[in-house]
């Protein structure tokens, strides 16, 4: 078995992982990126449509700067965020993020006279080359920065377990090279979990193929506390057909260089959401949209899986095409653009929750294990925030570095993991293939842990998950025992993580007895700031789960009410 030693192992090659690697490298600490997909080509960072302007950049007024902060705290995180961290993040975006990206070569879209093109409104944004496609050149640039710096990458390599030393500190990772089928052991002084927040746990999920909540599952097994795992975000207007386009979004955000934007129409042909009119802060109206849709669903004029429509029939083709890629969906389907609307549906998107971290250093509750980006439970969304985490975690590790001593992982742990994976590959049960178990699980999550939840459904979900664990997992059947590019084997590895994390999500959803933002409990329809403006922290306790509530400090913004029906709350 090949062994690789490095200072820091970074699991994940998205915005957070890449920037952590670049920052560590710059400070003389050797990183190694282990990526289940391809660095810069997998994970949620790729989907960044545009980039929000923070602070007073590009002529932002004081009010626009304040709006951005308010948006982040209220609409993006429903107050479940460390506001001081948010402020540090905003300042960094203004002073470091944009110059760093442009200096490295990112093309912030200009017009022919050389002005950076922005969207109008209370919160403005810019695009890397084209709106709707900003994540592509952004992440391609990161990929090239990593290559240029000579930072080593293990790509299409899945980490299957965190390894710990005799004292319980995380000191490495057990990996499988998916293309060759070889095992590798990476030994490191510290491990950064940067696996993102867009896991494919629901029938409709925005996450890329490889995202199966591995980071959360492995951190949990290593003893890390998690937080707010129930806080799931949804895309409200992703393409309904075909299934492979479930993450392709009719972006609702303000358009660059135009006063107009996409609108949504119910099955009766009535408009029920127009971003420029119906969104108080007019930026990323995800929760606002979801609430508008829920009202249509209750009125029988839409379903969460389709039966409503979105598009740009209120715009001219030229004004959409000038700076955005939004027309591509319609044209590729042979639909008349922009006249035709397309059927859309809800898709599970980001998870606000994740691994509990100290936002000053990005340490988890387990020694040696750090977090960056969406895998953390401290915030939600925005490629800029994930990038900021990359900087903070690098600084955190550099500060801790003298105290991080390289201790070898336990040989017994390595042997146990090798046998577990061998066993999964040789699985010759009589049950379904791993991919079928995955789909069964995603159906359960969609049906019972979807947009609207209640205790009955969540309890039933727990029962079905437990059935998967006891009956399906031990009886999976692989049709091919080969080593090369054996995605069936990978599915078998993934689905174990998925079951574990789904269970934690359901448990956390049962624990939070209120509705908040995109978290709808029909049996607890009110947003309850007196009891639940808290972090819903879960940690291992014996064989069970222990929940604790940790209040958030509110130094800058407060919700201004104690209790109110969630549907009546703007955010």
């Amino acid at each position: 078995m090949r062994r690789i030693k490095t200072d820091v192992a970074i699991i994940g090659g998205g915005a957070a992982g890449c920037y952590a690697a670049l920052c560590l490298h710059k400070q003389g600490v050797a990183p190694l990126i282990i990526c289940k997909g391809l660095v810069g080509k997998s994970g949620a960072s790729l989907f960044a449509g545009n980039l929000v302007i923070s602070g007073k950049l590009l002529g932002n007024t004081d009010e626009q700067a304040r709006n951005t902060a308010e948006f982040l705290i209220k609409y993006h995180n429903q107050f479940l965020i460390d506001q001081r961290w948010a402020r540090r993040c905003g300042e960094w975006i203004e002073s470091v993020y944009y110059p760093e990206l442009e200096e490295a070569g990112l093309y912030f879209r200009r017009d022919d006279s050389g002005n950076v093109v922005t969207s109008p409104g209370k919160i403005r944004s810019v695009a890397a080359n084209m709106q709707g496609n900003s994540g592509v050149p952004f992440m391609d640039l990161r990929r090239k920065q990593i290559i240029r710096a000579g930072i080593p990458r293990l790509e299409e390599t899945v980490v299957t377990a965190l390894l710990r030393d005799a004292g319980g500190a995380v000191c490495g990772a057990f990996c499988l090279d998916v293309l060759s089928g070889e095992y590798l052991v990476v030994e490191a002084k510290a491990v950064i979990m940067a696996t993102g927040y867009s896991d494919r746990l629901h029938k409709r999920s925005t996450g890329t193929r490889e995202m199966s909540a591995d980071g959360i599952a492995m951190a949990w097994r290593a003893g890390a506390a998690l937080v707010n795992m129930e806080m799931q975000w949804w895309h409200t207007n992703d393409i309904a057909h075909p299934p492979s386009w479930q993450r392709m979004q009719v972006y609702p955000n303000p358009m660059l260089g135009s006063e107009k934007s996409a609108r949504m129409v119910n099955s009766a042909g009535e408009e029920f959401f127009n971003q420029q009119q119906d969104d108080p802060l007019a930026f990323g109206p995800y929760t606002v949209q979801l609430k508008a849709l829920a009202k249509q669903v209750h009125a029988g004029k839409a379903r969460y899986d389709g039966g409503y429509f979105a598009g740009f029939d209120n715009c001219d083709a030229e004004e959409v095409d000038r700076y955005t890629t939004y027309g591509k969906i319609y044209r590729q389907l042979g639909l008349e653009f922009p006249k035709t609307l397309v059927e859309t549906a809800v898709t599970s998107h980001y998870r606000q929750g994740g691994i509990d971290v100290d936002t000053a250093t990005m340490r988890s509750t387990v020694p040696g294990l750090y977090v960056a980006g969406g895998a953390g439970g401290h915030s939600n969304g925005l490629i800029a925030l994930a990038t900021f985490d990359g900087k903070v975690v690098a600084d955190g590790i550099v500060a801790d570095f003298a105290g991080l001593i390289s201790k070898p992982p336990g040989e017994i742990e390595i042997e146990i993991e090798r046998r577990r994976l061998d066993g999964l590959r040789a699985t010759s049960g009589t049950g379904p293939a791993p991919v079928i178990v995955k789909e069964t699980l995603r159906d359960i999550m969609w049906d019972k842990v979807g947009v609207e939840k209640d205790k009955g459904g969540l309890d039933a979900a727990l029962e079905e998950l437990s059935h998967i664990r006891s009956h399906l997992l031990p009886d999976m059947r692989l049709s091919n025992g080969g080593l090369r590019a054996n995605y069936e084997w990978l599915d078998a590895i993934d689905v174990v993580n998925m079951v574990d994390v789904c269970e934690l999500i359901v448990q956390s959803s049962l624990e939070r007895k209120e509705s908040r933002g995109p978290f709808f409990r029909t049996d607890f329809p009110d947003t309850d700031n007196r009891e639940w403006l808290v972090a819903n922290v879960l940690s291992k306790s014996g064989n069970g789960i222990k929940f604790q509530r940790r209040p958030y400090e509110l130094p800058y913004l407060e919700p201004g009410f104690e209790r109110k029906a969630n549907m009546e709350v703007a955010w």
Binding site: G37, L38, K41, S42, L46, F47, L57, Y98, P99, E102, E103, G105, Y107, F108, R109, R110, D111, D112, G114, A128, N129, N133, G135, V136, P137, K144, I147, L179, T208, R209, E210, H241, P242, P243, S244, W245, Q246, R247, M248, A317, E318, D321, R331, Q332, L333, G334, E336, F337, A433, P434, V435, I436, E439, S479, N480, G482, R484, A485, N486, Y487
Partner: protein
Amino acid sequence: MAVTATILSPASRQGQIERADTLVQRNALLTPGDTITVRIKRSAGAGAEGREQEFAVPYQKWMRVLDALNWIAENDATDLAYRWFCGSKMCGTCAVRMNGREVLACWEAVEPQMTIEPLRNLPVVRDLVVDRSPYENKVASLEPWLRRPGDYAGFPEPLSHKQMKNASKALDCISCMCCYSACPVIRLGGLTDFAGPAPLVQLGQTALDPRNDPQRIAASLERTGIFNCVSCYKCEEVCPAGIPIVSQIIEPLKAKAAALVPAMAHHAFAVRAIVAARGRVDPGALVLRVQGWRALLRLRRIVRLLVRGKISPLRTVLAIKTAAAAPARRILGRGPS
């Protein structure tokens, strides 16, 4: 045909016009309930013998090639190896050949009868999964990064979209390697040092960016073998991102190479000078200019070319002009030689 007219609106992608006008028809070929026949070329990897396996797949609304592969992997062949990550034309990892042309599986509509094979010009790992590393290594060897000759001016630096017109097109590249698979010059293997269309588009992202240092661009261009491109437009034809690869990337890069590293363009300059002087290509003169008088030592070749009427020594020696010489000179000028 109002629909077609909309599709071909000014902002539509030039490179896709040929195929764009059939989009409506292609999306309407099938209706839910139809069965499509999918034949997949499978193999255990490099050097292993391939086999073709056939599947019957129920058509779903607006089904893409990737949906068909997913259906097969969930129902008939759970061990089918194929690569994809995003399913939305961003990651560029799901390209395959469908009925003899390169397509992005997540983007292309299914057809009633489909034969699906892995991309060409790259080693096969298993089934439809190819080894991307030959392409990745070429891209890295061109060092396609931005290096300013001076200091960075701070955000936002002076730059206009006019200056970025071609580079901006190159930034649409998702590294799917469709063009790399379709390129007939890459197909020749080691016979040329041509980097290939996709690596050139990747280089174009920064080499056609006015912020970049010309000296660095020159050094990168020297490693591209760019004048081996035969401008056959195969790359443009298959590009799912609709990038005008020849007209807006390779041609501007060739012009840069000619200006920055004239020796690379020796052959192109010779053709230009001969056409400007004589109004036609004179193969004999071209060979003499490019290879020098040593070309005369290759007697067997000369005889072969003479027999086939490819060269005419008399015409070459007397520098006979055609009637097109005057207009050609007017258009091309004498040009650098």
